[in-house]
């Protein structure tokens, strides 16, 4: 990694499993890590977006002359002079291609949509130029809520899963049930709000383009930009060494990023465009709102007889992304009959997008609440009820799990939290100040997925190596965890391996999404290293001068920069010696990471966890605080426990946010988000999460991939949000089914 500045680490055996600190940490805390907006190529101009304040209609007039006349303004880009594109930005020409607004016409389809770009010598001039455009609109009435009129039944939800799924006869199961729960829960629209806004610095040289922009999917971004511009992908060079968070919103290239590129084309100079915080509440995706109705039936013994999870969600008026909130119900509890169904409305908003734990987060808080409601109905402890309905195989598919240490998660979480003795009834516990205390539990789950990724590994004559893959470090620690995997694959210390990443010229590492990046890019690196070692081994075994000559079937092992005979480790030689004798400067290996298609055919692959929450609530004022959280998670092999713990913490904090804090407040008449800033769009502060613990539960997965790696990035939200909601009920006896839980709902 050209960008490394790290302390030396002591390795004990393999790198995998070591709690290394972030290798890019020193760069980050000293301000040397170069994020997209830190790039200032010579001659660079600043661009500012003008965005629509109406949510539906058309732009009738822009005062372009006033903007142009402002000192420092170089050019104003509108649909009238925007350089042509080779593709309509509204063409859906592949999976994961979303319609975008790139000044193709004067239509406005949501508030905050870009309607012009002002390019100027300074950011201040560009910003004021944008204000001087003083747009006039022809506005049309907007639809903003889940009760909008045009309801439709989607065929697909999320990134392409069938919307409706059924297993067994739910109605019969409900009819036969001794106890029934039917409850409706609502979750609001939420915005990703990565700390780093979407930013782009675009520089053209003839028909070649260099862009610095944060990306969770370099290859997709390259392909999308190339398609829009009508250029071969190799003409587009994207650099994205660091992201200040993405959470899904940087998974696809957005309209504003394309506009930055077009602005640079228009003025013939490099251009930088950075979204303002409030501009991130429109064109770069959000988590769609949901209204979920759960119908549960259970027998006298507390065994579920049926589970119906119906989701009403919303997408934009012009494109589809439907929050797949019911998918958690496919995997979590062993109901003999399960149905998941959807309907949806179209709103005058930007198109929703995957946002950290898309579907699972929203679905989990509803399902975990409903499960608690049923446990109460059955007079059972919430944990006992969950264990009674423990899924030994995936309920929907009947497939065995590739691994599932959820029982262990419950057990370790219970012990650490001190769940024993929890009163069944609510409003039973007080602290020394008389505050209400409640304990809640939620089961965490997230699928273990893999995309397709490639990697290259090169062993050099000096005994060091290079490993590279175009991976994405959103802050989760890919620079470190992937280097650990690469080092082990090459039998080298981590500091002997130069690791390159975050650049579209490197092999495609697959998208950093779906909690799959470590598995995908990591397995690709693992195979690339193994391939290089295999080639090196062949070289040695075929060479009479090598102590490994003829090792043949006995095989060799690679360790500490040497190849050793497996049957006699005293016989071996260094990589350097092998290459030197062969007169080779280096030897290259390549690898692919992808899930073996046979695995999902035979197994259900998921990470699991159990989260225990304590909340305290002022009995008169209703103010809530999640005073203690313990999560126990099992996610296969843990490549770096320090980074993984930090992913769990982040997820759990997000779960608290989901239950108690986060929501976009939209004005019903205008369709504008009224709290589009981090002062009013609340997420937890440190004082909201005074005690967090994450337990890494050991789990060996022999199936999911050769290293048994599952995902950890998203699971923390699931389980936690429900645990907090359940704890609020346990503290107060009030079941709030609309999130985030508002204090006024708790006033009794």
């Amino acid at each position: 990694m050209a960008e490394t500045a790290s302390a030396t680490h002591v390795r004990h055996g393999s790198s995998i499993g070591q709690p290394l600190t972030r290798r890019d940490g020193v760069l980050k805390v000293t301000g040397q890590a170069r994020y997209a907006a830190d790039n200032h190529p010579p001659g660079m101009l600043h661009a500012a977006l003008a965005v629509s304040s109406i949510a539906r209609g058309r732009v009738a007039a822009l005062d372009v002359a006033a903007a142009r006349a402002h000192p420092g303004v170089v050019e104003v880009m509108t649909p009238a002079n925007r350089p042509p594109l080779a593709q309509d930005p509204d063409d859906k020409n592949g999976p994961f291609v979303f319609r975008m607004e790139a000044l193709q016409d004067d239509r406005v389809r949501y508030a905050g949509q870009p309607i012009a770009v002002v390019i100027a010598e300074t950011l201040e001039a560009a910003t004021e130029g944008a204000a001087l455009l003083a747009p006039r609109y022809e506005a049309e009435a907007v639809e903003t809520g889940l009760d909008a009129s045009d309801v439709f039944i989607p065929q697909m939800v999320g990134p392409g899963a069938p919307a409706e799924a059924r297993h067994g006869d739910v109605e019969a199961g409900l009819a036969a049930a001794e106890r029934r729960v039917e409850a409706t829960y609502e979750t609001p629209a939420q915005y990703h709000n990565a700390m780093e806004p979407h930013a782009i610095v675009a520089a053209w040289e003839g028909d070649r383009l260099t862009v610095d922009t944060p990306s969770q999917g370099l290859a997709w971004a390259q392909e999308r930009i190339a398609g829009l511009l009508g250029l071969p992908p190799e003409n587009i060079h994207i650099r994205s060494p660091f992201l200040g968070g993405g959470f899904g919103s940087k998974g696809v290239i957005s309209g504003p990023q394309v506009l930055g590129i077009l602005a640079a084309r228009l003025v013939g100079r490099p251009v930088k465009l950075v979204l303002r915080r409030e501009q991130m509440y429109g064109p770069v995706g959000h988590r769609g709102p949901t209204r979920q109705t759960l119908r549960l039936g259970a027998g006298e013994d507390g065994g579920l007889t049926a589970l119906h999870h119906h989701v009403r969600t919303a997408t934009s008026r012009f494109d589809d992304f439907l929050e797949p909130a019911a998918s958690v119900s496919h995997t979590l509890y062993a109901a003999p009959a399960i149905a998941t169904t959807y309907d949806a409305v179209r709103l005058d908003t930007g198109t929703p997008l995957f946002m950290r734990a898309p579907g699972e987060a929203s679905g989990s808080i509803a399902l975990e609440s409903a499960i608690d409601e049923m446990a109460l109905e059955c007079g059972m402890d919430p944990l006992e009820f969950r264990l009674r309905n423990y899924a030994e195989v995936e309920p929907m598919s009947g497939k065995p799990f590739s691994s599932k240490a959820l029982r262990e998660c419950y057990a370790q979480g219970v012990a650490r939290f001190g769940w024993a003795g929890r009163p069944l009834q609510p409003r039973q516990m007080r602290d020394e100040n008389g505050l209400l205390v409640g304990w809640g539990l939620g089961t965490a789950t997230f699928p273990a997925l893999m995309f397709q990724g490639q990697a290259r590994a090169v062993i050099r004559r000096d005994g060091t190596a290079l490993a590279e893959t175009g991976a994405h470090d959103m802050g989760q620690g890919a620079w470190t965890a992937l280097a650990q995997l690469a080092a082990d694959s090459l039998g080298l210390e981590i500091d002997q391996v130069e690791f390159r990443s975050g650049d579209s010229r490197l092999p495609d590492a697959g998208i950093a999404g779906g909690s799959s990046h470590t598995a995908t890019a990591g397995i690709a690196l693992h195979h690339a290293g193994a391939d290089a070692i295999a080639k090196l081994t062949e070289l040695a075994m075929a060479d009479q001068r090598s102590p490994l000559f003829g090792a043949g079937n006995m095989g060799v092992v690679a360790r500490n920069g040497r190849l050793l005979r497996r049957d006699d480790e005293s016989r071996g030689e260094s990589y350097a010696d092998i290459l030197t004798r062969a007169g080779l400067a280096e030897i290259e290996g390549r690898g692919t990471g992808a899930m073996d298609p046979a695995v999902p055919e035979h197994y259900a692959t998921h990470s699991h966890g159990a989260v225990f929450a304590e909340v305290k609530i002022d009995p008169e004022l209703g103010q809530i605080r999640a005073t203690r959280l313990v999560g126990a998670f099992a996610a296969g092999r843990i490549v770096n426990p320090r980074l993984v713990r930090s992913q769990y913490y982040g997820g759990m904090i997000w779960g608290v946010s989901f239950a108690l804090h986060e929501q976009a407040v939209m004005d019903k008449c205008s369709g504008r988000v009224m709290n589009a800033n981090l002062g009013e769009y609340h997420v937890p502060v440190n004082a909201d999460v005074p005690s967090l613990e994450a337990i890494l539960v050991e789990e060996h997965d022999p199936h999911v991939n050769p290293l048994g790696i599952k995902g950890v990035g998203e699971i923390g939200i699931t389980g936690t949000a429900g645990a907090v909601a359940n704890a609020v009920w346990h503290a107060t006896g009030v079941r709030v089914r609309r999130f985030p839980i508002a204090i006024e709902k708790l006033l009794v």
Partner: protein, 352 residues
């Protein structure tokens, strides 16, 4: 942000002359003003920076037990001044419950008094707002108004004043020292902010160019030091504006309330001194029943201005809570979570 002139005068007279020109605004630390400018909510033609003015950054503890605080004193410096916080603990507690440490290190006394409402429609230039554009209408009235005013609002404007600091100041009878082209004058803090009425754009008694130079806490305000608290209800544990808040001060003599002070925050366009409640408490026993009666009196005139009826009962409860905490007594040291319901209560538990 529009282009503007920037002045840094070296004397108060110079500053006042400059600021009396139309389109001028005083710049203290800018934590509110610059945000508003970046959002195109206000577009002053001239900023008059107070940073170069002499004498505005002093905290004077007066021999009579009162205090005089310069307008440019930082919120954090005032809150952490040991003698000031000993004399006026509720003021320190309110200051430390506001914003974040970074903001408190920058924000000034004058800026805190004159910070603008947090009404989202005021901050959104595309919305109709009588405060921003008199006569334009008020989009908050039929919009998202869950946190808007329940006291003293008018059809023209239902916004609240967001300051925490001002709430105990109102309770304690602070006085604002003002200097302008016509000379120096003093206004009780209670009368400093204006209710919206027909002119919500007029938020304080300041005339164009008038400068807040200092704030005075009278000597008698220190007599509540043993029983003075600020409590603030928030939607997260820290770093959030008050949903409702209350400052209470009691003088308790022989088990009876000799004198009470009470003001509410987050309920009106000004910090709301609850004189009827104070009167109801005089001579009463410091117990839950008296506090509830006082709280009822404080909110007697309250009416919802939108989806905020719950704030009325919450305001009663926060008033009663502040009084109850004040009765227990000012803690030895300020709690780590100032003004929070989660701060430990010295002595007996509050709740049943």
């Amino acid at each position: 942000m529009n282009r503007f002139d920037y002045l840094r005068p070296a004397s108060i007279a110079e500053a006042i002359a400059a600021a009396a020109q139309p389109g001028s605004a005083y710049l203290a630390s800018g934590t509110n003003l610059l945000d508003l400018m970046k959002g195109d909510v206000v577009r002053p033609a001239r900023l008059v920076d107070l940073g170069g003015l002499p004498g505005l950054d002093r905290i004077e503890l007066l021999p009579d037990g009162g205090a005089r605080i310069g307008a440019r004193v930082r919120n954090a410096d005032l809150a952490y001044h040991p003698e000031f916080s000993r004399r006026f603990p509720a003021v320190a507690e309110a200051l430390l419950s506001g914003a974040s440490a970074q903001l408190r290190n920058a924000a000034t006394v004058g800026g805190n008094l004159l910070q603008r409402t947090r009404c989202a429609y005021f901050y959104d230039p595309a919305s109709a707002c009588n405060k921003r554009a008199p006569g334009a209408g008020c989009d908050a009235r039929g919009g998202e108004n869950r946190l808007h005013a329940v006291l003293g609002w008018s059809e023209r404007c239902i916004a609240t004043h967001p300051s925490d600091f001002c709430v105990p100041l109102a309770a304690l009878g602070a006085v604002v020292e003002i200097e302008g082209q016509a000379g120096r004058r003093e206004v009780p803090l209670e009368e400093f902010h204006l209710l919206p009425g027909e002119t919500p754009e007029r938020e304080s008694v300041l005339a164009p160019g008038e400068l807040v130079v200092a704030l005075r806490l009278p000597a008698e305000a220190a007599r509540f030091a043993a029983h003075a608290r600020y409590v603030k209800l928030r939607e997260r544990t820290s770093y959030a504006f008050a949903v409702v808040s209350a400052a209470a001060g009691l003088r308790i003599e022989q088990g009876v309330i000799a004198e009470a002070r009470l003001a509410l925050g987050g309920v009106a366009a000004k910090p709301w001194r609850a004189r009827a409640a104070e009167a109801a408490l005089a001579g009463a026993r410091p117990d839950a029943a008296s506090f509830r009666r006082a709280a009822e009196a404080a909110l007697a005139e309250a009416t919802p201005s939108g989806d905020n009826e719950f704030k009325i009962e919450l305001a009663r409860r926060i008033a009663a809570r502040a009084l109850a905490l004040a009765a227990i007594g000012t803690p030895e040291r300020l709690p780590a979570l100032p003004a929070s319901p989660f701060a430990p209560v010295p002595g007996a538990p509050l709740h049943g």
